[in-house]
Amino acid sequence: MKPALRSILIILSLFAASALHAKEYREVSVADPYIEMRTGPGKGYPITYVAERGENVEIIRRKTDWFKVRNDRGREGWVNIVQMEQTLDAAGETTEFERVGRDEFLQRRWETGILTGDFSGADTVSIYGGYSISRNLSVEVWGSQLIGNFSTGWLGTVAVVHETWPEWRISPYFTLGTGIVETSPKSTLVSTPDRSDQFAMVGAGARVYVTRRFVLRGEYKSYVVITSRDDNEEVEEWKLGFGFFF
């Protein structure tokens, strides 16, 4: 019984040891005269320690542009990315960190966001997801909720988007798409049956890169709803919102 217990204990302690050692942190050495370590990830938090030139620090985690580091003596603190970029890595080169900027925006693959605005008198809230095929061309899927005074509904769109001058600060785009709109009258009004119609859409808009993964976006879309009645319905929509890319 006793040896069995002991072997279990040994195995357990081995597991614990491996669990402790499994986490390997990136280590950098300070090349500036010093780096400032703060108590929290923000410029308002007080500096409680400075790591001097030549000192090695481990990077434990990152929150936005702040890095939690630990030195050899176990001192921990948060350092800004500007100071972290002045440290040297194991190969003796300046450390590089993933920084999301305009270049990443131009090379983005996926984008998602939320826009709100007016759909021919009704309020609309739209969520979209997009995939870039090239720098100019992307495919987008939209889901919009329409909230009007007399009826509410849903709008689903598949669209192709052409961003003509992606490198411009305010970058215009043109879009073409199709989808289905479903409307139902408000419950407080006399009930008429729900309707589901197909539509074709053409539109134009612009993106403005703000910061990090953040994009502002505004657009105008014109819809031709193919109804079962004699006339096709034309609807105008404008929206404003933000998206983020990854």
Binding site: Y25, Y45, R61, F97, T116, V125, R213, F242
Partner: protein
């Protein structure tokens, strides 16, 4: 006599062993030679140089925050009742974050319904108040909170506002929300949140269209990843 029997027995056994080993080992023999030649150079040349691999361990980023909350929501004319919900946020910087939230509460009867006794304005399904929204938050006054002599936790107030939609009384209602909250971080990844918000929409549920304020107060926990 005995020795002759023993010799006969031994030759029989030897013959059988040869026969079985011959049958089974012959095809193996060819294979073994193959693997032998393949393994040979590995044994001869053993690299003594220890290469230094520079594999950069990935840095954990904790810019996303997922959370759940519970509290009280006061729906104008329909009483105050428990609300539960979930949030997902992305932190752009130390100051700015975007958050998507969903929440739900079962509203109570209006005082008119209670006093009149029989009249019911809404069905049970319509009485359910469900909302979703997307908001932008701004961390205000970051700092530390001290618990006793040895413990300090990071904290901040935040202002938050956004828009979304509410489903209530059988209708979808365009809703804006705004408010303020408090976030206390127990460590780098686990936080307590207290949040007070007003959800505003125009409703004609009780006859005339009017602007309706629905105040919410909830407490929750969130996890950064």
């Amino acid at each position: 006599m005995e020795t002759r029997v023993r010799i006969l027995f031994l030759t029989l056994v030897a013959g059988m062993m040869l026969a079985t080993s011959g049958c089974s080992s012959l095809p193996f023999f060819g294979k073994k030679q193959d693997t032998g030649t393949a393994e040979a150079p590995e044994q001869v040349i053993e690299p003594e140089v220890e290469r230094r691999d520079i594999v950069k361990p990935k840095i954990d980023t904790e810019d996303f925050e997922i959370g759940g909350f519970a509290g009280i929501m006061s729906v104008e004319d329909f009483g105050a009742s428990p609300v539960v919900g979930a949030t997902l946020a992305y932190h752009f910087s130390e100051a700015l974050f975007a958050e998507a939230a969903i929440g739900r509460t079962d509203t109570e009867e209006t005082s008119f319904e209670r006093l009149s006794g029989a009249a019911q304005l809404l069905t049970d399904d319509e009485r359910q108040f469900t909302y979703y929204n997307a908001s932008v938050g701004w961390n205000l006054f970051p700092g530390e909170a001290f618990f006793g002599r040895d413990r300090a936790f990071n904290q901040s107030l935040y202002l938050i506002g956004g828009l979304g939609s509410t489903r209530f009384g059988g209708d979808d209602l365009f809703t804006i929300n705004f408010g303020a909250g408090y976030r206390l971080l127990f460590n780098d990844v686990f936080a307590l949140r207290v949040d007070f918000r007003d959800h505003v929409f125009d409703s004609d549920l009780l006859g005339e269209s009017e602007t309706v304020h629905n105040l919410t107060g909830h407490i929750g926990f969130s996890f950064f990843f």
